[in-house]
């Protein structure tokens, strides 16, 4: 009898240890999984870049190729282009995981759901948004962006895009269980994105007219810190709504 019980006790012990790895290791595993998945479908990673290049190329056709006019609108236009290029990927942030049952495992996991959501946000930003920021010098050159504006634009994007992905993760989780969500996500993101865009554009406009541009950037940084704390919690609540039937 004792010998029969012993292995069972051992195995429960073993599964207990396997089931609750440290939160850090769980997040690292999730991050690694997202990177592997992104790498396996690396063709898709170029689609937002291609989209951004195409939309950027439309501006000189629509407004005329006057270099001075392009230089004046370049900062704001590139900001809008990045926001637009982010939208399609945002919509699919949780959809596949909801369909194949991964999200249910997230809910069952002993790790806090908000942290798993934050990990997904980080992976999403690194794989789909960071490449857009990397090609900014090229897009800036297409629109004749003044070279002194480029660092400010990139700094504004580095603060604004994580903020938008954090807000977008809440909306993406909300629409994951809905029937259709394409334009709905854009409609829901717009009101929340407006303050972010205003401050990012404010920094660019200030730099363009030779004024101090640090204040709007610090506002963005403050909002980003606040969003890192609050958005994963809202995202977790939205994921619970998406999963429950």
């Amino acid at each position: 009898m004792v010998t029969a019980i012993q292995p069972i006790a051992d195995s429960t012990h073993a599964t207990e240890a396997m089931r609750s790895p440290s939160t850090l290791r769980a997040c690292a595993a999730l991050l690694r999984r997202d990177f592997v998945l992104a790498w396996r479908r690396r063709g898709e990673l170029f689609l937002p870049l291609l989209y951004a290049v195409i939309v950027t190329a439309l501006f000189p056709f629509a407004l005329g190729p006057d270099p001075e006019l392009l230089a004046r609108i370049a900062g704001g236009a590139l900001l809008v282009i990045v926001v637009l290029a982010m939208l399609p990927a945002l919509e699919a942030m949780f959809r596949a995981d909801l369909e194949d049952g991964t999200l249910e495992q997230w809910l069952l996991a002993p790790q806090p759901l908000a942290l798993l959501a934050l990990t997904r946000v980080i992976a999403h930003w690194l794989t789909t948004v960071l490449p857009l920021i990397v090609v900014m010098p090229l897009l800036g050159a297409l629109l004749n962006l003044p070279v002194k504006l480029l660092p400010v634009l990139i700094a504004a994007l580095l603060l604004a895009t994580p903020l938008l992905v954090l807000l977008g993760s809440v909306l993406s989780a909300l629409t994951a269980g809905a029937r259709r969500s394409g334009i709905l996500l854009a409609l829901m993101l717009l009101p929340l994105a407006v303050p972010v865009v205003i401050f990012a554009a404010g920094a660019i406009a200030a730099a363009q007219s030779g004024m101090p541009y640090l204040a709007p950037l610090t506002w963005l940084a403050a909002a980003l810190v606040l969003a890192i704390v609050l958005a994963p919690l809202a995202c977790a609540a939205a994921l619970r709504i998406a999963v429950e039937t």
Binding site: L167, V170, L171, L174, T175, G177, A178, R179, R180, S181, L184, L187, M188, L190, P191, L192, V194, P195, A234, A237, A238, I241, A242, E244, T245
Partner: protein, 261 residues
């Protein structure tokens, strides 16, 4: 019953059939008082109040525009509070109330935008300008549309209501931005003329103030009356399979589930 922080009558009212009958009794009275006060406020504002020393008679649009603008914010706050109750305590009634707030709120926001635009053309010489308050009011309109759209995108109405309630809560960060927009940014829209917290700072003549306040009362009462009516309809369609709705449709006397105390 377990210990509760809520008084008993709130539990009684939270039951859909009880609320249905309560709202049915209260609604006509609210609507009647709303119509009477709207008539009084419009008469006071459009006939009795003197013309403005600067804007002449054109300022009279404020008797529609300003109460609508107040309502656009007030209804959003109501929706967010009801949404919070729906999310935390899972009260079915709160879900319906939160979702039925949204179309009325969107309507008042649209009225605010349209009347402001009509007033802006002769006064500022433009239908639209990207002023802080106008833009934030437009953003509020999109927020309402987002809530309505998300609610309708779900097959399961209760899930849709909870998702849209969460969106309403997240969107409430915009309310203080709209309210303080005339103070924070010095733009085209005129600043506060009515200050409830500090009446001495109000810069509006009493003859113009009282019709405005009566109109504000009328719009609030109208909102509550219409919300009660909309919630009644919403409850009927949500609970259409339940016995109390069938009894109602069959014309039987409704069953009472405990009297209020």
């Amino acid at each position: 019953m377990s210990r509760s922080y809520l008084p008993h009558w709130m539990h009684w009212l939270g039951s859909p059939p009880n609320f249905y009958r309560f709202a049915g009794t209260l609604r006509p009275w609210l609507m009647a008082v709303a119509l009477v006060s709207a008539a009084a406020g419009l008469y006071g504002g459009l006939v009795l109040a003197p013309p403005d020393y600067q804007q002449g008679d054109a300022y009279r649009i404020i008797f529609i525009h300003v109460p609508s603008a107040w309502m656009s914010l007030f209804i959003y706050a109501t929706m967010a509070v009801a949404g919070l109750i729906a999310l935390v305590w899972r009260v079915k009634l709160a879900e319906v109330i939160a979702m039925e707030c949204a179309p009325t709120g969107a309507a008042f926001t649209l009225i605010t935008l349209l009347t402001g635009s009509l007033w802006g053309k002769p006064m500022w010489g433009t239908w639209w300008t990207w002023d802080a308050r106008l833009t934030s009011e437009l953003v509020l309109f999109f927020l309402y549309l987002g809530v309505i759209g998300l609610y309708n995108a779900f097959e399961d109405r209760r899930r849709g209501a909870r998702a849209a309630s969460l969106l309403a809560l997240v969107g409430s960060v915009n309310l203080p931005i709209i309210h303080y927009s005339v103070q924070w940014w010095n733009t085209l829209h005129q600043g506060t003329t009515v200050d409830f917290l500090d009446p001495a700072r109000s810069s509006i003549a009493p003859a113009m103030l009282w019709p405005l306040l009566v109109m504000a009362l009328a719009t609030h009462l109208y909102f509550f009356a219409s919300l009660l009516g909309r919630t009644r309809t919403g409850l009927l369609s949500l609970e259409s399979g339940k016995q109390w709705v069938r009894a109602l449709v069959d014309g039987q006397p409704a069953q009472t589930t405990g009297a209020p105390t």
